[in-house]
Amino acid sequence: MTRYPPPADAPPANIDDEVLAQIALSQDEYELASERLGRAPSDVELGMIGALWSEHCGYKHSRPLFHHFPTEDERILTTLGEENAGAISIGGGWVAVMKIESHNHPSAIEPYEGAATGVGGIVRDIFAMGAQPIALLDSLRFGPLEDRRNRRLCTGVVAGIGGYGNCLGIPTVGGELLIGESYSGNPLVNAMCLGIAPQGSLISATAGPPGTLLMIVGADTGRDGLHGATFASVELDEASAERRPAVQVGNPFLEKSLMDACVGLVRDHRDWLEGLQDCGAAGITSSTVEMAERAGSGLRIQTQNVPRRESGMTPYEVMLSESQERMIAAVKPEHVGDVEAWFEHWDLHAEVIGEVTDDGIARVFDGEDEVAAAPVSVMTNPPAYTPYAERDSDAAARAAGDPSELDDLKPTEANEALLQLLASPNIASKRWVYRQYDHMVGTNTVVTPGSDAAVLRVRGLKQGLAVCTDGPGRAVELDPYVGAARAVAEAARNVACSGARPVAVTDCLNFANPERAPIYFQLSESIRGMADACRAFNTPVVSGNASLYNESEDGPVTPTPVVGMLGIISDVRQAVRMAFRDEGDEVWLLGAGLNQEAASLGGSEYLAVRHGKSAGPVAIDLKAETALIEVLVEASEAGLLKSAHDCSDGGLAVALAESAIAGEVGVSIDRPVSGRLNAALFGEAGGRAVVSLDPSQAERLAELASKNGLPATRIGTVASDRLSIAAIELPLTEAAETWTSALPSLLDG
């Protein structure tokens, strides 16, 4: 029998750079770990520390910035970063639980399984808290779809999300799909899950008091996903394809049983458990060590008790495997038999693999041999970094560009410009995507994909939930602070257009290598911008994920903070959709008026599509944005609105066209446009929404807007079968055909 650790005075062993590269620790970090341990770490300890100190698990570069976020109000039931997901009281004795997470690198090299296991991971985060997952959303970014490689990634990712999510019986109700050059080698795949639970029934991811037994349940442990957390924390390069073994293979059927068993266990027998945790990145290592940290305890793991699907696995491999569909339950010793029997009902095997101790040390055994014995506090306290930040000069120069220097759109080109924008994959109908997702299972999806936000009911509750994701990368690149604030504002507008008051945010920070000054500038400024916007909307950040090192040989990705927003509708039967409904209804523009300065084209889809430019100033007026939210929510609650749709990508003309296409009825704008035509039609000034209403309600809407200090302009009527918007004059069917067929013709071709 060998004993670990070796004597404390032993000098740190010489460590091979290759070993460190495999776990993505720097030489300095290795020395820091050795210093804190008072000796060189063993192989298993080094692997565990490497995983827990990886950017993916340890948030080394983002953690020091999180203090900017507002994280509390009377609704919020969890502390940011303390649990698997954030919990929000939604009234009526119910709690919503939500989180968003990235699976970018796995999806880059194995799109189907990468995306599928991304869904699996985020769902486990929700049911690890004892909540029933009720909705999934996916925020996706790919390079141009004209490129075969990007098409393969896109179709593979969509199939993977459907393949996994559809099998679970959780509806995929929303998300985004945006295309940009920079995502060519490094697509972004962010999955968000929303769950619900009765108030007071959630369970914590803690290990409980000494003597508590740790049981693993679900899949057997294999060698798949080894070093996945590490892989997520380095840039992609040509050797990345060799990392394919770091991508896990999903088994959604197993996850479905595991979910039903865990949700039922927490609901019916919460008293058998001290805590529940999923095995995500860094597998058994992170799940058990983080549980012990929360309990302020130590633990002992016997690797030989871990059920395996491969023979000859070393303790190192067992501890770091990222095999999917596994959970760790902290079980009161007297209920181990009960828990075993409970899982047996679902043909699931639960096995005791360790216990909680009182010495604060994480000890790992391989039979009699102790192969790791390191303080939990060392493992869970990675160094934190604040690199030098400096704005990228190219982005700054482009942001200083003046769109008024470009020729205005000629009236004769207006039809063509609208059709061009409607055909842009960033604006075109996403039906090609969402019809591959079961978005109705559970019979709670009140507003299905295609509107500004999805709306879900909670059976038996008057209130409804609205959810969406938003992440306008181009604006963030031009001005990270403003762009990230705009991401929050757009998400808030989207739920408010459904009639919901925004209440909480989960965020996924997708950035490149933060060790470089321009990237750290993007990251730190984005967080500041998001934080200020969240404060303005009273939407605390309850959970999230940072995905850094998103770059390939083609360069860094556009900085892409993605905001997942939850809103509450006071009466779900009053949910508002984006579709125009009845001819004769008045069309109003809420927020800044019809005529816009050229500056509103900064960072717009119009500049990208018509001029091939990502340039110009981007701005945000948080006061105007919050006034708009207030008016949308109050107007919906008063039952004034027949439709609402925010003006974002493509500006007013695209918003009008989308509402018309969705409603299969035309629109006629009779208010004259003066000044620049391109800005009036396609400018992306924030804080605006298009609503339609019965003429009898117009006066009340105008009063409501005036009370909130928000400009509101009647601009036209819902009418006929044509789009008549200033110089635009098109049959609705032509616009609809263009908008509907763009993605299928790119992806099915």
């Binding site: 199939a159 459907g162 393949g163 559809n166 099998c167 679970l168 019986g169 088994n251 959604p252 059927f253 197993l254 479905k256 049983s257 009902h345 679902w346 043909d347 969402y434 019809r435 591959q436 997702y437 079961d438 978005h439 109705m440 299972v441 559970g442 019979t443 999806t445 009140v446 299905t448 009911r457 059976r459 779900v572 039967r573």
Partner: protein, 220 residues
Amino acid sequence: MRFAVLVFPGTWSDWDCVYALEDQGQTAERVWHREADLDGFDGVILPGGFSYGDHLRCGAIARFSPVMSALERFAATGKPVFGSCNGFQILCEAGLLPGVLLRNETLQFRCQPQELTVERADTGFTNVCDDGQVVQLPISHGEGQYFAEPSVLDELEDAGRVLFRYRGQNPNGSLRDIAGIMNPMGNVLGMMPHPERASDELLGGTDGNYIWRSIIEHWG
């Protein structure tokens, strides 16, 4: 009526069916696949999902569950058995209905509202409809392409056992646009669409209630 809603590992429309039946004033209980008898129930529902993860073939493993022998005995008594989506696939695998469901012609999953024509209104499952009535029910499946030998299809048609056909664009390549079929006794119906998802005005449609109300009218 008192309905059993069968639950296999991987089934996911069980609660949706329970709620839809309860909304019609009926009693519905989820019955785990290991149960060996269905005594005391007036009707059985096989809901949608991915029983056993669709391993081997959709429904191929579920047919060996203990509850399936009980289901065969139950069906022989003439009481109503209704399978939707994966439930239809299981009924075919178990031989209670002819044919098989293949992967959609597009090779993609399809979730969308779908128009259907009611081929016959004089059956236990359609008696509150009119002949040729058009109804809208959601579909949600990756393997819904109905296939059977031509002689079997002819027999189904001749005996009036095709109850529902897809209208407009056929979403999965099913032969003769078949969306739902019945057994010769007229008490077992299998269909790919999901009536339980069109049973509530809040969710945008109630055409699914035609099926529940017909069953209750005929057998209740």
